[in-house]
C-alpha cells in the first residue's frame, strides 16, 4: 500500500497483562529495530490486545523482529503481512491557520481535492480530519506545509486482513 518498499506491517496479538506494552516497546528499543509507528487496541477477543507495528527493514529484519517478539510470554500470535494481504488505514488531524483570507480558499480547495473532512472552522483556524494510507496523509501534509500548520497528529497504521 505504501510505496516505501522497505516498510512492513507486523501484527501482534498479546495477552492484555499490565506492562506488556512496556515489554514490547522495550524489546524493540533494545534490539534497535526501526519502527515507524505502533498502535494498540482491544480486539474481538476479551483479554487479547492487538499491536500493529509498521517497521522499517527488509524481510530478514522483520523475521528477526518477530522471532524476538515471540520471546515475550504474553505474545500469543504474530503475523508479518504484505501490503496486498491487508487493508491498512491511518487517521490524521491537522489544525491549520486560516486567519488569512487570501489562503483560505486555497486551503479549502486542497482539502476538497483530498476529500478531507472538516471537523471545525473557527475564525483563526480550521481542523481537518483525513483517513487513508500513509502516502495520502503524507501528500496532504506536504500540501499544507506552505500554510501555517498549528498542530498535526497521526495515529499510525492500523490494519485488518483481507
Amino acid at each position: 500500500m505504501t510505496k516505501d518498499s522497505n516498510l512492513s506491517t507486523i501484527i501482534v496479538w498479546v495477552q492484555n497483562n499490565p506492562g506488556v506494552l512496556f515489554k514490547l516497546s522495550g524489546l524493540i528499543r533494545r534490539r534497535r529495530f526501526n519502527i515507524e509507528s505502533l498502535t494498540v487496541s482491544h480486539t474481538e477477543k476479551p483479554g487479547i490486545s492487538r499491536f500493529t507495528i509498521l517497521v522499517r527493514g527488509n524481510k530478514k529484519t522483520v523475521e528477526k523482529m518477530s522471532k524476538q517478539l515471540y520471546r515475550i510470554v504474553e505474545v500469543v500470535k504474530i503475523r508479518e503481512s504484505y501490503d496486498k494481504e491487508i487493508v491498512a488505514r491511518e487517521l490524521c488531524l491537522i489544525k491549520v491557520d486560516t486567519s488569512k483570507k487570501e489562503d483560505r480558499s486555497d486551503i479549502m480547495e486542497t482539502a476538497k481535492h483530498f476529500r478531507v473532512k472538516v471537523v471545525q472552522i473557527k475564525p483563526k483556524y480550521t481542523i481537518f480530519e483525513l483517513t487513508g494510507n500513509e502516502d495520502k496523509i503524507d501528500a496532504f501534509y506536504e500540501n499544507m506545509k506552505k500554510y501555517r500548520i498549528m498542530e498535526f497528529v497521526r495515529t499510525g497504521r492500523t490494519a485488518v486482513f483481507k
Binding site: Q15, P18, G19, K23, R30, K64, R71, I72, V73, V76
Partner: protein
C-alpha cells in the same frame, strides 16, 4: 481453611519440589520470613548480599537442573539482584526470584524502599509478575517454575506486595498453567532432521559444536553416540565444556577467543558444522563474514530467535537437543573420518608446543595459572565441579581443566560477571554436596563478592577456593598490553592479606609462592574437612594465549 499469601507461597514452593532458598530478609518480605519458620522443609541460606543469592541460585540450578530460588526484600533487595538476573538471562539459567513489594496502596507513591521491580527487571528476566492478591500467588509460582525451566531456561521474577503476603485466602493446589502464548517446540521437524542426516552422511569433514544446550537438555550421551557412530570431532563452547569427557578421542577442544587452536581453525575447513544448543556469539565466531563460509551449517536450538540471529544457517532445526538427536541417530550412517580427525592433530601439536607446554610445565619463574589449574584438576581426577570467576583465571581454568561428567564446569559466560565464582560455588556445593567443588578466582573478582566467605562458614560448606593473585586486573591488563601499547590504566590492584582475611572469616588458608609446594598444598586443601582457601602468587604479567583478537577470524588466532 484459609492461609496467608505468605503461607501459600511457601506451600507452592514445596509443591514445586523446592528444598533450598537463597535469600536476605527485609521489611517488605517479613511476612514470608515469618511463614518460613512453619515450613522447615524449605532450607534457607542467608547470603551476605542479594547478588550473591542470585549467583548461588545459578550455581545450584546449573548442577541440579532444578530452578534456583531467591527471596529478597523490596527496593534495594530487589535491585541488588539485577546483576544476577541479567547473568542468568544470558546464560539460560532457570531461577525463580521472589521480592517483597510495598503494600499495594503505596505503590507508585515513591514509598520507603519502593522500586519498580517489574519495570526494572523486564529486560533481565524471561517473565515477571506483580502479585497484589493472595489468590494469585499459587498460580504465579506454578507458571514461574514452568517458564523458568522449559524452552530456553531463564530467570522469572515475582514481586509480591506486603499486603498480599498478609491477606488470607483459600489455597488451591491443582492449578493449570495458562500461558496461551508460550508453547516451546521440543520435537524437531522430521523433514529438517532428515535433511540434516543426509548432509551429515554425505559429509567428509563434519564438526560438532556443542553448546550449553547439550547440558541443559541432558544430551551428553546422545552427543557421544552421534560423535562415535559417524566418527565426528566434537568442539565445545565455554558453556558446552564437560558435555563430553576431555579424554575422548573425538574431543578436539574449546571454541572461542581463548579456545584451542585446532577447533577454531578447523571451523573454517569443515564442510558441515553441526551446532547443538549454542548461540554462535561473537566470542565464538570471531569476524562473522569470515566465519565458516565454506560450511553448511546445521543449527539445533530450542529458541527460534537464536537460529539465523548471527550466522546464516542452511538447516535450522528448532527443538530440544536431546529429542532432536534421538530422532536423528537412526538416520545416521556409520562412518570413519580418520583422515579428517588427524588434520586436527597438526594444530593440536602446534598449540601443545608453543602454548600448553610452556604454560603447564615451566621450570623457572613464578607459578603460572595453568599449572595450578591442571594440578587441581588432576588431583581431583577430573571429577570435581570447577567454578571459574571471570578474567584470565576463567579462560585458563576453562582451557586447562579436564572433565569426566556433565555439569562440572560453571562460569559466567554471556555477561562475564566478575564476582560470580564464589557465590556460584556455594550454590553448586549446596546442590551437589557429595561432589568436590573448587572455586577459582582472580584477586579482583574475588574481592567483588568476598563477603560470601561468611555464608560458607555459617552453612559449614566444604568448598575449596583458589585465589590466583597477580596483583592486576589481569585480563584488562592483557588487553592494554596487546592492544593499547602497554599503557596500563587502573589495572594495578593492591590486595589485602587474603590469608588473614580468610582466617578472619574462619576459613583455613595458606599462601603458595613456590612451584614445589603446589601439589602438597592442593592435597592439604582437598584433605581438609571443610572449606579451605589457597592463595597463589602467580606470574604478574602473563597473557592468555591463543587469542583471537577482536575483528580477527577463527583461523587467525595468535599463539603469542
Amino acid at each position: 481453611m484459609k492461609h496467608t499469601g505468605a503461607e501459600i507461597l511457601c506451600k507452592s514452593l514445596i509443591l514445586e519440589g523446592v528444598d533450598v532458598i537463597f535469600g536476605y530478609p527485609g521489611g517488605a518480605i517479613m511476612p514470608v520470613y515469618d511463614a518460613l519458620l512453619k515450613y522447615p522443609k524449605l532450607r534457607h541460606i542467608l547470603v551476605r548480599h542479594e547478588q550473591g543469592a542470585a549467583h548461588a541460585a545459578e550455581g545450584y540450578a546449573r548442577v541440579t537442573g532444578k530452578p534456583g530460588v531467591c527471596l529478597v526484600t523490596s527496593g534495594p533487595g530487589a535491585t541488588n539482584l539485577i546483576t544476577g538476573l541479567a547473568d542468568a538471562m544470558m546464560d539460560c539459567v532457570p531461577l525463580v526470584c521472589i521480592s517483597g513489594q510495598v503494600s499495594s496502596e503505596l505503590i507508585g507513591n515513591d514509598a520507603f524502599q519502593e522500586a519498580d521491580v517489574v519495570g526494572i527487571t523486564s529486560m533481565a528476566t524471561k517473565h515477571n509478575y506483580l502479585i497484589d492478591n493472595p489468590s494469585e500467588i499459587a498460580k504465579a509460582v506454578k507458571e514461574a517454575f514452568h517458564l523458568a525451566n522449559t524452552g530456553k531456561p531463564g530467570p522469572v521474577m515475582i514481586d509480591f506486595t506486603k499486603d498480599a503476603q498478609f491477606a488470607k485466602t483459600e489455597y488451591i493446589k491443582n492449578l493449570e498453567v495458562d500461558l496461551p502464548g508460550y508453547k516451546p517446540v521440543t520435537k524437531g521437524n522430521f523433514f529438517q532432521i532428515k535433511k540434516a542426516a543426509e548432509e551429515i552422511n554425505k559429509s567428509k569433514r563434519p564438526l560438532i559444536l556443542a553448546g550449553h544446550g547439550v547440558l541443559i537438555s541432558k544430551a551428553s550421551s546422545e552427543l557421544l553416540s552421534l560423535s562415535q557412530k559417524a566418527d565426528i570431532p566434537v568442539a565445545c563452547t565455554l558453556h558446552g565444556l564437560s558435555s563430553i569427557p576431555n579424554a575422548h578421542k573425538n574431543y578436539v577442544g574449546m571454541l572461542g577467543m581463548h579456545g584451542n587452536l585446532a577447533p577454531n581453525v578447523m571451523t573454517n575447513k569443515a564442510d558441515v558444522l553441526i551446532g547443538l544448543g549454542l548461540r554462535f556469539d561473537d566470542r565464538v565466531t570471531g569476524k562473522l563474514d569470515k566465519y565458516a563460509r565454506q560450511a553448511k551449517i546445521i543449527h539445533v536450538d530450542i529458541d527460534p530467535a537464536e537460529i539465523g540471529k548471527n550466522v546464516d544457517v542452511e538447516i535450522p532445526i528448532v527443538g530440544d537437543v536431546k529429542s532432536v538427536l534421538e530422532d536423528l541417530m537412526p538416520l545416521i550412517n556409520y562412518a570413519n573420518h580418520k583422515d579428517w580427525l588427524e588434520e586436527f592433530d597438526k594444530y593440536k601439536k602446534e598449540e601443545e608446543e608453543k602454548v600448553i607446554k610452556v604454560e603447564t610445565k615451566p621450570r623457572t619463574g613464578k607459578i603460572k595459572m595453568a599449572e595450578i589449574v591442571s594440578c587441581i584438576s588432576s588431583s581431583a581426577k577430573s571429577d570435581a565441579i570447577i567454578v571459574a570467576d571471570v578474567g584470565q583465571n576463567q579462560m585458563i581454568t576453562a582451557r586447562y581443566s579436564t572433565f569426566l561428567r556433565p555439569n562440572s564446569f560453571l562460569t559466567s559466560g554471556g555477561l562475564g560477571t566478575m564476582g560470580f565464582g564464589l557465590p556460584a560455588g556455594i550454590g553448586a556445593k549446596v546442590g551437589r554436596p557429595e561432589r568436590e567443588v573448587w572455586i577459582i578466582a582472580g584477586d579482583g573478582g574475588f574481592q567483588m563478592t568476598i563477603q560470601e566467605m561468611m555464608t560458607i562458614v555459617q552453612e559449614n560448606l566444604n568448598v575449596k577456593i583458589a585465589v590466583l593473585n597477580n596483583n592486576f586486573l589481569g585480563m584488562v591488563r592483557q588487553w592494554q598490553d596487546l592492544f593499547f601499547e602497554k599503557k596500563y590504566s587502573q589495572v594495578h590492584m593492591q590486595t589485602p592479606d587474603f590469608i588473614k582475611i580468610s582466617e578472619g572469616f574462619g576459613i583455613k588458608a595458606e599462601k603458595v609462592k613456590e612451584r614445589k609446594d603446589l601439589i602438597n598444598a592442593i592435597g592439604r586443601a582437598r584433605k581438609h574437612k571443610g572449606a579451605y582457601l589457597l592463595e597463589f602468587e602467580v606470574e604478574m604479567e602473563a597473557n592468555v594465549f591463543p587469542i583471537m583478537p577482536t575483528g580477527a577470524a577463527v583461523d587467525e588466532m595468535r599463539l603469542e
